[in-house]
Subunit: 217 residues, 2 copies
DNA sequence: CAGTAGACTAAACACGTGATCAGTCAACCG
DNA sequence: CGGTTGACTGATCACGTGTTTAGTCTACTG
């Protein structure tokens, strides 16, 4: 008897290993609901395999979690590595859209990708990996801002640490409050359309301010 | 024999009912780790009662959760109610600090209060209560911004929906990314000291912008 | 002083969880 | 061909969970 189910390449459309299929299913579920709220049985069902196979491949649920973490971190670094030069170029050419992390993500990931949601979880839990990621992005923002000041493009600040954090978290707010923003403005801010509206307003405020200065000037 | 443990008023310093003690313990634990990650036994231990008493008073864990939700929502509304006039007054008198939700919270809640963390969780989960809260705050922000434009204090925007959302989520970012911000700038942004630094930078950017406008003007 | 109501607890129950185990099957190697 | 390796599964385990039950003790009521 010829068993289709045991041909690992036939488990899922796309010729993926069973391992990869399980990892992808876990990534998607972890991103949406968090690892603690997802059961091994659920992952197995979604991947079309038995629960025991999940632990056969990854040792334990925590092992799977670690592997998914590493996979996601790798994907994020790939995005981040391709960004700063591109972002800088856009900024210096005075392009219409301001360089931003959220924007880079919207461009770098396919529309249905679970990675933005995964990133969100990483930043919001007390995960050390999330803290490390935030730290690297903060340092990059800080450096970029210093560079822009030196170039005369950005005005200097008395408290550059806070200003860099201000810009970074305003940007990340798009990712972490995505759903709330979507219902408020009637458009997903991580799609190109929503992103355009957002970038235009942010760009204006960052360039000109939003209030008529009451006492200064 | 005289039993101290059964005198409800002696269970906890502060003359609280056992019910209130349990509710407070649950609020604190829910805020820190989320309701799903907290066990009934844990709440009971922290409150100094038996696990069965928790369910005796609240029917079920979900019942307790609902009661804690209602309690927190009530506290938030109280803060929100006292804010807009005060905020408006500060704004119109040209006070040093810009009116903001995060600021109002830092002023309105004692330093160790679990309510900011609870609010954070409410906004970040897909909880309908959180969506409702965000919706009300968004409407208030939108109205305030319109009013300021009408008064000539704020510059009009082509996309006021997005601009209001932009201001609101920048503000809420202080609450949802509090920990990451704290390690980045070296100060908890929800304490008066950290809040001052943050408000100063935000105020400057919102008033004057941060970049030298490249093409406009 | 009975007697009832309610705060409170110890013990146990039903169930879903992550994990283990023994075993089947296909592929590969000598 | 015989034998070993490894992907894969069904059955089962130990355990923590929310909840229930039976019962104790105190305070109040007539």
């Amino acid at each position: 008897m010829f068993s289709l189910l045991n041909m690992s390449s036939a488990i899922d459309p796309g010729d993926l290993t069973a391992r990869a299929t399980i990892r992808n299913a876990a990534l998607r579920l972890f991103a949406e609901r968090g690892p603690d709220a997802v059961t091994v049985r659920e992952i197995a069902t979604q991947a079309g395999v038995s629960p025991a196979l999940v632990l056969h491949h990854f040792g334990s649920k925590d092992g799977l979690r670690a592997e998914v973490d590493a996979f996601a971190a790798h994907a994020f670094d790939a995005i981040l590595e391709a960004m700063p030069t591109e972002e800088l170029a856009e900024l210096l050419t005075g392009g219409s859209t301001r360089g931003s992390l959220a924007e880079a993500f919207a461009r770098g990931f396919p529309p249905g990708s679970p990675l933005p949601a995964y990133l969100r979880r990483l930043l919001l839990t007390n995960d050390p990996a999330g803290a490390a990621l935030f730290g690297r992005w903060y340092a990059a923002t800080r450096r970029l801002l210093d560079m822009l000041v030196e170039m005369g493009v950005a005005r200097p600040s008395e408290d550059p640490d806070v200003r860099a954090a201000f810009f970074l978290v305003n940007d990340l707010a798009l990712i972490v409050l995505r759903n709330q923003i979507a219902v408020a403005i009637g458009a997903d801010p991580l799609t190109p359309a929503g992103m355009d509206r957002w970038a235009r307003e942010a760009g204006i405020v960052y360039a000109e301010g939003a209030f008529r200065a009451p006492q200064k000037e």
